[in-house]
Amino acid sequence: MTDKSPVSVADTQTLTSLGKAFRSTLSRDLLIAFKRRNDILNPVMFFLIVVSLFPLGVSPDPQQLSVIAAGVIWVSALLASMLSLDNLFRADYEDGSLEQLLLSPQPLYFMVLAKNISHWLVSGLPVVLLSPVLAYMLYLPSEAYGTLFISLLIGTPVLSLFGSIGVALTVGLGSRGLILAVIVLPLTTPVLIVGAKAVADVSFGLPVGTHFAILGAMLALALTIAPLASAAALKISVN
């Protein structure tokens, strides 16, 4: 038995610093994602598959596809990011790690934020990076590539953040999958509208500065309230 000096009531000075705890949580979640590998591959694959269902289901006509391209890509990105969210807290809830997180003396806002960032890095970012390829496959006018990319880059974190509220609310439920989508999808329609509209507008040669500004404002709002709401929801879910 490793011998230790007698225990005493905690000296909060020696606690792990917030920065260190934040990095530790972030890197733990990234490590889990890399070990599972599927976490990284699946959202992209899902995105790719769903987008390619449209030429099959709608019509392979370039003319028609180019009209719906922006909308289809945005809807698919929305779905991919929504459905990959199930991984955000579920495993932690089931194995009890979530309880440990809630009982740690670290501020929950930042711990949840760390988990959100890690989740976006492994599931949102790859989708953003792949989007130009899909845009090409759906004959999106090439002027719009940049706008699509940037709008997804700003928009997908908002989706993740809002989504995480929904996951936190439903993580304790036996049934899963769709209830998350039913709760979260309506909340995220503004992101979809603004994002898809930016791409559509730029194809018509209209300016898109305002669109980006609105998306940015949404991101700021989401960063402020979503981790707080998620943290509160997590406390309720483990109850």
Partner: protein, 246 residues
């Protein structure tokens, strides 16, 4: 003030007080509804453009405007639940959700029925209709969450959070949807704003109907809440006394 607040939080007090109010509310509703409906159905002149279908307005507008009030109400109740842990607030929140969903659904339905003769279609992706549809989805989300969580306490808080987040979102959704559609097809839309050019014989009965339907809404809400109180407090002494009495 504080005393009043905590007293209001007592389900029993609320139950008894609302019991006293209810007859008056019933009476007022019957009066308003009777006057409003007869006036609207029999005496309002048919519109020169819309014909007899203008009468649907007397259902549609009140129902739609109430459904818009439900989400903020639910969010306020949710905030009270979270901050002051007042049980009564959650009972109200729980009862508002299905009413909100119903009224949203009715607004959609009455709008659709009206739209058929006016626009020639039951449905169009107009900004207002779309945001109403999304609001309907939001209500369904809250209801689904409530029914999915077993523990009453957890369900109360979870739904409160969702209601608050949703309420922050409702204006954003409304704004974005309006912005989205007005640019896409500005011309083909039919104005939904007939208030301005219309004479008093059209909008006075409308106001009466609005008041009547509001009363109906309040009564429904009270009845549901009273029922919820009885269910949740069924083991308390005063409820059992009540049951024993009759």
């Amino acid at each position: 003030m504080w005393l009043w607040f905590s007293k209001l939080g007592s389900p029993r007090w609320f139950y008894e007080l609302s019991g006293k109010w209810l007859p008056w509310l019933y009476a007022a509703m019957v009066v308003f509804m009777a006057v409003g409906l007869t006036w609207a159905l029999l005496f309002v002149p048919a519109d020169y453009q819309q014909g007899e279908t203008i009468r649907i307005m007397y259902v549609h507008v009140p129902v739609a405007s109430i459904s818009l009030a439900c989400f903020p109400l639910m969010a306020v109740a949710g905030t009270i639940t979270l901050v002051w842990r007042m049980k009564l607030a959650d009972m109200v929140a729980k009862c508002v959700a299905p009413i909100g969903a119903w009224f949203s659904g009715l607004a959609l339905l009455s709008g659709a029925i009206w739209g058929e003769p006016i626009w020639g279609v039951w449905w169009t992706w107009d900004a207002r209709l779309t945001s109403m549809l999304i609001q309907f989805f939001l209500f369904i989300g809250v209801i689904a969450l409530r029914s999915a969580i077993e523990s009453q306490d957890a369900a109360a808080k979870a739904c409160a959070i969702l209601a608050i987040v949703g309420a922050i979102n409702v204006p954003i959704i409304k704004y974005s949807v309006e912005w989205w559609n007005t640019l896409h097809q500005p011309a083909s839309r039919i104005s939904m704003d007939p208030m301005a050019p219309n004479p008093p014989e059209i909008w006075v009965p409308l106001l009466i109907m609005i008041a009547g339907v509001y009363l109906f809404f309040i009564i429904t809400l009270l009845l549901r809440t009273r029922n919820e109180i009885l269910v949740r407090e069924r083991r308390s002494k005063w409820v059992q006394d009540l049951v024993r009495k009759g």
